[in-house]
Symmetry: C2
Subunit: 280 residues, 2 copies
């Protein structure tokens, strides 16, 4: 592991790192915020944060204003990148919503994407294990949250592995990707033409097929979100949750749009939500 | 004035705008955060925020995590750009610390810079007047703060026009630019070879020549700041303040570096400092 930079932040420490990822078969970058309590070596709960399309491991830490609340609750944050970098797949840099910056936190199985585009396993297994070996993080108290593509990533990973992620929340998630343009484009590329195979990476379809999470899922959605109807469809997730008996707190906010101005307005509640579960 | 975008944030509204600046003789962009109270038209106190080298009108709003505290105190924020854009001066895009992104919030008088590089008058007069005509801002309760080059800009403008800026604070300001490389390079370009003429745009030299501000000046400085000794020299400002009887609260923070990880750790205190003065 290479330390790119480390500096004090909110009485804790924010660091940026690079390591050789086994599942991605490429170097990968990630970021870690440790609250003050962890600087002395005490293992603390940790929330993994997943950014949206075009983001990097820096995006959420820089723009979400979350670190002060992680510090307040004594919780660490781990931020992953949004895709492999430099995989060399033809077309990976051709559009903002496929390839670089758009890994969708799933494991590609189709064509040339499958060699490196394995953010699913990276988020589910490799990054938690790697960071919990390198930093004082308590892997038995681990949560996940994210924004847009990353909000969906948080929902999917929590539903696929509820024992691994004890708390989950999302801002403006792409809640039903298999029926929207962003999801159809990326899932067809990464997973191939068989739409049935897409469902295991779709949060709404996971609820429909019997997956659930023991904790209440917190989702915030702005009603002036420019992607709300075309790409996000939280109502599909809401309906599936109601039918499945999945506890869900979906809050709709008039006037708020898709970006980080929305996130920073409500991020305090998300950190409190995770801390209440992880520190219970 | 053209509205580039407006959206809800922290129960208030953040907006980005463009207008034709008379003093810059170019289009200029700025940003305004209005707290909830101002959305109904009530005039609220306002703090102008100045970013550092390479920044824009977006930088402080995005990275400083200040909007939530402006919302809490019912104070508006106005963010300016760091230089004119597209002035066409030879060499203005050749380095990060001169020209574009590096206007130093002063009025150039030398060579071809003097036609457009007039951020001094823009910050002192045009932008406050323009924004106070267009938004419900109370120009009798106006403060100024900034970071690095912008931290110095805040100090200089407050000392040059103490009746215009009732509260002032800075993060890691370039506190004595006439004796450091960043300042020498830009002041020589913008103001010419006569070093005496530089002193009216230098915060430490203004204190030495009898300028002062009635309010306590708040300055935060990280001790792991990579520019501390070579470019910032807060101790010069501290000594000049002590000799001039200028109330100054200079806080030094072990472990903190130059960037926004430092700012976001202490920005709450700055908003409280301004609010206490502006709302007294």
């Amino acid at each position: 592991m290479e330390t790119i930079s480390e500096t004090a932040c909110c009485r804790g420490r924010v660091g940026f790192y690079r390591h050789a990822s086994e599942v991605l078969r490429l170097d990968a970058k990630f970021a870690v915020f440790l609250p003050e309590a962890a600087l002395g070596g005490r293992r603390v709960p940790v929330i993994h944060v997943l950014a949206g399309l075009t983001g990097t491991e820096k995006t959420f830490f820089t723009k979400a204003n979350a670190l002060r609340y992680a510090a307040k609750h004594g919780v660490a944050l781990v931020a992953t990148d949004t895709s492999p970098r430099g995989a060399g797949v033809e077309g990976e840099d051709g559009s903002y919503d496929l390839g670089t910056g758009a890994g969708f936190y799933l494991d590609a199985t189709h064509s040339s994407w499958s060699a490196h585009y394995r953010m699913g396993s990276y988020v589910a297994s490799e990054l938690p294990a790697f960071t919990e070996a390198a930093f004082p993080l308590d892997g038995t108290r681990r949560g996940i949250m994210g924004h847009s593509m990353g909000g969906h990533g948080a929902l999917v990973h929590a539903l696929r592995n509820p024992s691994s992620w004890r708390s989950v929340s999302a801002f403006a998630p792409i809640a039903h990707p298999v029926v929207v343009p962003w999801g159809e484009k990326s899932f067809a590329a990464y997973l191939g033409p068989d739409r049935e195979s897409w469902k295991s990476w779709d949060a709404t379809e996971l609820l429909r097929s019997g997956h659930s999470h023991p904790a209440t899922i917190l989702v915030d959605q702005g009603l002036d979100d420019e992607f709300l109807e075309r790409e996000l469809r939280p109502q599909d997730f809401e309906t599936a949750a109601a039918e499945a008996g999945q506890p869900l707190r979906l809050r709709r906010h008039a006037g708020y749009a898709h970006g980080y101005w929305f996130i920073q307005s409500f991020v305090e509640d998300h950190l409190a939500h995770h801390a209440a579960i992880l520190k219970a």
